[in-house]
Structure formats: structure tokens, C-alpha cells
């Protein structure tokens, strides 16, 4: 590869990165503008006097902390339960045999292609009938059911662990629950990490679930942010919207930057081809 070619490629990539990152920069810039900055046309690119008070106002003018707490609770419930349950089921598919296993596995793979929202609305109607709307029980149920994709990931990982480990444990009188809990699960931390990131990001970002299942005063950040901030005249206060959005998006971005090596090269390879 020639030098000029390499330079040109770097230049193109730099331009692409700038385009991809600029919306985030605009969000941050908007979050520091005063209402006067927001009203001026042509727009201010970067406020001359950053207004950090937007952040405190974004927290106080809606129930930001309450919504954040709900988001964290739901994310915690689904992350823990989904990961444990998926590992448990994945172990079954990887290490045990029984009639019907092959068919069940095909069904599992097929469910990955089911349209999620199509089942979500009727699930809401059923939970409403059971008076479990506005509680966290739906997330407990979804968590316990596991996720087809994560079950698949755990299955792949457990299938690669040498059989000798399991046999030694059986000779020592350990049952399969013990083998799973004491030998297999502690070894699977790369998959656990992937599972935690994926389920946390999903739960944190989910909009329809909480919008349907939770009332406005017990909802999550995703829903609280989507409806936005309005002043008493019913007009959106976009600088507060931006500040709230920055605080809402930040945890996910930080998680990503810490784990980006895994994100960018790790589990993307597994499960596709």
C-alpha cells in the first residue's frame, strides 16, 4: 500500500468520524446554551458563556432522579435475571441431552427472528388483566425467561469447556446444578460481561416497555426524556432537553468506552456466521 493511499484513507476516515461524532457534539453544545442562545438565528455553534445551570434545572424541573432510579432498578432486575437465566438454559443446551433437544434448539434460534413488538402489546394486555401493570413483575418475568441470543452465546461457550471437568465433578458426587454453579458459571465471565453490557444497554434504552407498563410518575428516564421538558406555555425548552439527554446517554457511552474493545471485536463475531 502506498503512502499517499494510506494518507487519503486516513483523511476519509477522519471526515467520517467527524460526521458521526458531530451530532453528539451538537447535543453537548446545546446543553450549555442559554435560552437567548437557543432563540438566535443563525444558531450559536458554541455558547460564549456555557450555562451549566441547565444541568441542575434539567434535574429539578422534572423528576429526573426518580426516573433515573426507576431506570436503574429495571436495568438491574433485567440484567441480573436475564444473565443468570440465560446461562442456566445455555448450560442445559450445551451439556445435557434429552429427547426433543434438537427441536427445542431450532425453536430457540427461530425466536431470535420473531418481531418483538408484535408480542409486546398483547403481553401488556395480559399483564393489565393480571393487575401487574405499574409494577416491576413484567421485567422479572422477562428476565427469568432469558434471552434467546444470550442463551445461544452461553451455549457456545459452555460447549467449548473440556468434558473432563464435568466428569471429575460427577465422580466427586457433584450434581449438575453444582457443576453449573461452581464450575461452569465462574469460568464464563467473558460471556457474563457481554451479557451484562447487552442487557443493561437494552433495558436502559428501552422506550416502549416502560411507556406501556409504567405510569407517568413511576416511569424510566427513557420515557421521561422522550416527552421532554416544556415551559408553562407548553413550548419545549430545548437547552434543558439537551442537558437531560446528555445525562441520560452518558452512562451508556461510558460503559461503551470502558468495554469498547469487547464491543468492537468480541461478541460481534459469535453467532452470526
Amino acid at each position: 500500500m502506498t503512502r499517499t493511499y494510506r494518507w487519503a484513507l486516513s483523511l476519509v476516515l477522519l471526515a467520517v468520524v467527524l460526521v458521526m461524532i458531530s451530532p453528539i457534539l451538537w447535543l453537548v453544545s446545546s446543553s450549555l446554551k442559554s435560552s437567548a442562545d437557543m432563540a438566535s438565528f443563525p444558531p450559536t455553534w458554541w455558547p460564549s458563556q456555557p450555562r451549566f445551570a441547565n444541568y441542575t434545572e434539567a434535574i429539578t424541573s422534572v423528576n429526573f432522579l426518580g426516573a433515573a432510579q426507576n431506570s436503574l432498578t429495571i436495568a438491574f432486575i433485567s440484567t441480573t435475571l436475564t444473565t443468570l437465566s440465560s446461562a442456566w438454559v445455555g448450560f442445559g443446551f450445551a451439556r445435557l441431552t434429552a429427547p426433543g433437544k434438537k427441536q427445542l434448539f431450532v425453536v430457540l434460534l427461530a425466536t431470535m427472528m420473531l418481531p418483538g413488538i408484535v408480542t409486546l402489546v398483547p403481553t401488556y394486555l395480559i399483564f393489565a388483566k393480571l393487575h401487574m401493570v405499574n409494577t416491576y413483575w413484567p421485567w422479572v418475568a422477562w428476565g427469568l425467561g432469558g434471552s434467546a441470543f444470550l442463551i445461544f452465546l452461553f451455549r457456545q461457550f459452555f460447549a467449548g469447556i473440556p468434558r473432563e471437568m464435568e466428569e471429575a465433578a460427577i465422580i466427586d458426587g457433584c450434581g449438575y446444578v453444582g457443576i453449573f454453579w461452581r464450575i461452569f458459571l465462574p469460568q464464563s465471565w467473558p460471556v457474563i460481561a457481554a451479557s451484562v453490557i447487552l442487557s443493561f444497554t437494552h433495558a436502559w434504552g428501552d422506550f416502549v416497555g416502560p411507556a406501556m407498563f409504567l405510569s407517568q410518575d413511576s416511569t424510566t428516564l427513557a420515557v421521561a426524556m422522550a416527552t421532554g421538558y416544556v415551559n408553562d406555555k407548553g413550548l419545549p425548552m430545548n437547552n434543558l432537553v439537551a442537558a437531560g439527554a446528555v445525562m441520560y446517554v452518558l452512562p451508556v457511552l461510558i460503559l461503551f468506552l470502558f468495554m469498547q474493545r469487547r464491543f468492537v471485536s468480541g461478541f460481534s463475531t459469535s453467532g452470526i456466521k
Binding site: M1, L9, L13, V16, M20, I21, I24, W26, S30, A39, F41, P42, P43, W45, V89, G92, L96, A98, V106, L109, A110, M112, M113, P115, V118, T119, V121, P122, T123, I126, L144, G145, G146, R155, Q156, A159, P162, Y176, T201, G205, F207, A211, M212, V223, M225, A226, T227, G228, N238, V241, A245, Y248, L253, F263, V264, S268, T269, G271, I272, K273
Partner: protein
């Protein structure tokens, strides 16, 4: 698709499950079977309770005139399905959704593939490029939609700011007929997700193949179209299928305009996708029977589209390992 997925499984199983002819006594097998059912039970129960049963319930609702509240609902047979095909709003929203999928899915995949090829070259700091291009794909949908609302705001938005520095007139982006371009831009912003998947596929291509082609005098373009693309085709097929499934049930325009499930009225006509109409029927009009029929129609459409893609691609997609059923 599922055959593509099971391939990895087969190869890893083949490595680990070394033939063990001994130890074929009955009792342990029986116990093992019972333990297997114990282990898969959470997923099986979840699948029945949270997927099969709701789908069945929705089907039953779709045969009634339920409004979700009054206890007196009547069985109306397939009337709701007949109504769908006489409702121009429903049909046009379905057409818009198809259009949306046909535009955004190929564009995202192409952009992702192009970027993947670029960040797969030996350039300096390519890890950083990969991470930063992928970054928008992890921004939660609500955060992304809010950001685009701010960029395309009529007065305070960056888009019109750029136009005005170029001396052009500002555009009202978030209403018809321009709102659809904002929607396309929002979807394309996340093409880093597609890049990562294609990149993983590119890295799986054996280096020797490309080197051999180079030795034989193939140009870069030739080895790209004759080696890279065929070997990448399962990965592309995977993206086409998941992309279609995702965009057919997209409700992203709702987040771009009102940010509330009952706010379908605020969505510009050009962005009035099928799923938004479903939400409007459920949560604004309380037509539970009709909305459930709409959901089942969508389910059928997605199933048909998926099967069609698999069928059409069967001749063009190239598997390095024989797909399901060929061995074992």
C-alpha cells in the same frame, strides 16, 4: 438463517464432544434427560407465557370488536382483517413502512460494508476509528431521536445553521415533506452497527485466499467482488433479514415528534409508519380488536418477507461449511 447460526455450534461441538463409546447405561441417561428439562424450563415457560400465549391472545382479540374496557365484546370473525384492506390509512402506512425498509436497510448495509472495508485496512489508529464510528449505534434510541430533533430544529438547529452559512434559505425539517430525510439520517447514523458485523465477517476471510489471488494477478476490485463478497454473503444475508425485521416494526418517527405512545397525531404524514398506526389504534382509538388484527398482519408480513429473502438468497449466498443437514 438458522442454518447459518448453527454452523458455529457444529464446529465447536465437533471439537469438544469427542466420541465416547463407553458409559451408555440407562439410569444416568434418564436422570440427564430430566435434568435437561429442568435447565431449559425457564426459557420454555417464558416462551410459552410471554410469546406463544400473547400471540394467541392477540389472535383471539383480532376476531372480536373489543375496546379493551367494556366487558361486552362480540365475536366478529375475520371482519377486522377485511376492514384492514378497506382502510386507506392502514394500507398507506404499510406501504410507507415498506418504502422505509427498502430505503434504509440497503443503505445501512452498504454504508456499513464500505466503512468496514476501510477500517479493515492497516491505517494508523484504526481501533479508534472503529470505536468512534460505532459509538452512535450504542446511543439509546430516545437519546438519538432527541439529538436529531435539536439538529433539525428550524431556528436553533445546526442543519439550518450550515445552510445559512452557505447562503441558502432555512428549511422546516421536522414536518412534511422533509421529515422523512431526518428519519433516514437518524437510521443511517447507526450504520456503525452494520460496520461491526461486516468487519467481523471480513476478519473471518482466510488471508491466504486473498494473497493467492494477488499472486495470480487479480486486481483489488476483482478479489473484492470474487472472493470477499461471496465469502461475506452469509453475513450480509443476516443483516438483510434482521434489518428488514427491525425496520418493518420501527416506530422511530414517534420519538422524533411527540415521544409518547398516544401521540401518533403529531407524526408527519410521510413518517406515519405501520407500527405508529397500531399504537394509535390501541392507545388513542381503543380499537383493540382491529389493532390486534393489524399486529397479526404485520407478523405475517414479516414472516413472509423473511422466508422470501431466504428463498431468493439460497442460490447467491455462499457457505464455506455445508449448511444444516448435510453432515452429522
Amino acid at each position: 438463517m438458522s442454518s447459518a447460526l448453527t454452523e458455529v455450534r457444529r464446529s465447536t461441538v465437533a471439537e469438544t464432544a469427542v466420541e465416547r463409546p463407553d458409559r451408555k447405561k440407562k439410569p444416568p441417561t434418564l436422570r440427564k434427560a430430566r435434568t435437561f428439562y429442568l435447565f431449559v424450563a425457564p426459557w420454555v415457560l417464558g416462551f410459552i407465557g410471554l410469546t406463544v400465549f400473547p400471540l394467541g391472545y392477540a389472535f383471539w382479540l383480532s376476531l372480536t370488536d373489543s375496546d379493551g374496557l367494556s366487558p361486552r365484546t362480540h365475536f366478529v370473525g375475520f371482519q377486522n382483517y377485511v376492514d384492514i384492506f378497506h382502510d386507506p390509512l392502514t394500507l398507506s402506512s404499510l406501504a410507507k413502512t415498506g418504502m422505509f425498509a427498502l430505503v434504509t436497510v440497503p443503505l445501512s448495509i452498504l454504508a456499513g460494508l464500505l466503512l468496514a472495508v476501510m477500517v479493515n485496512q492497516p491505517v494508523r489508529a484504526r481501533g479508534l476509528y472503529r470505536a468512534l464510528i460505532y459509538l452512535p449505534a450504542v446511543v439509546p434510541p430516545v437519546g438519538a431521536a432527541l439529538t436529531f430533533r435539536l439538529i433539525f430544529d428550524r431556528d436553533a438547529g445546526a442543519a439550518n445553521g450550515i445552510l445559512s452559512t452557505l447562503g441558502a434559505n432555512p428549511i422546516t425539517w421536522l414536518v412534511d415533506p422533509n421529515a422523512r430525510y431526518v428519519l433516514y439520517a437518524l437510521v443511517l447514523w447507526g450504520c456503525g452497527g452494520s460496520m461491526i458485523i461486516s468487519l467481523a465477517g471480513l476478519q473471518d476471510i482466510p488471508r491466504e485466499l486473498l494473497e493467492a489471488a494477488q499472486v495470480d494477478g487479480a486486481s483489488y476490485w476483482q478479489s473484492f467482488t470474487r472472493i470477499t463478497i461471496p465469502l461475506l454473503s452469509p453475513v450480509i444475508l443476516f443483516q438483510v433479514i434482521t434489518g428488514m425485521i427491525g425496520s418493518l416494526q420501527s416506530f422511530a418517527p414517534l420519538l422524533l415528534s411527540s415521544g409518547s405512545l398516544s401521540g401518533a397525531g403529531a407524526v408527519p404524514q410521510g413518517n406515519y409508519l405501520y407500527m405508529i398506526h397500531v399504537f394509535a389504534q390501541y392507545f388513542s382509538a381503543s380499537r383493540f380488536g382491529y389493532a390486534s388484527a393489524m399486529l397479526w398482519l404485520l407478523f405475517a408480513v414479516i414472516l413472509l418477507v423473511t422466508l422470501l429473502i431466504i428463498k431468493v438468497s439460497a442460490r447467491t449466498v455462499f457457505y464455506t461449511v455445508e449448511p444444516e443437514g448435510a453432515s452429522k
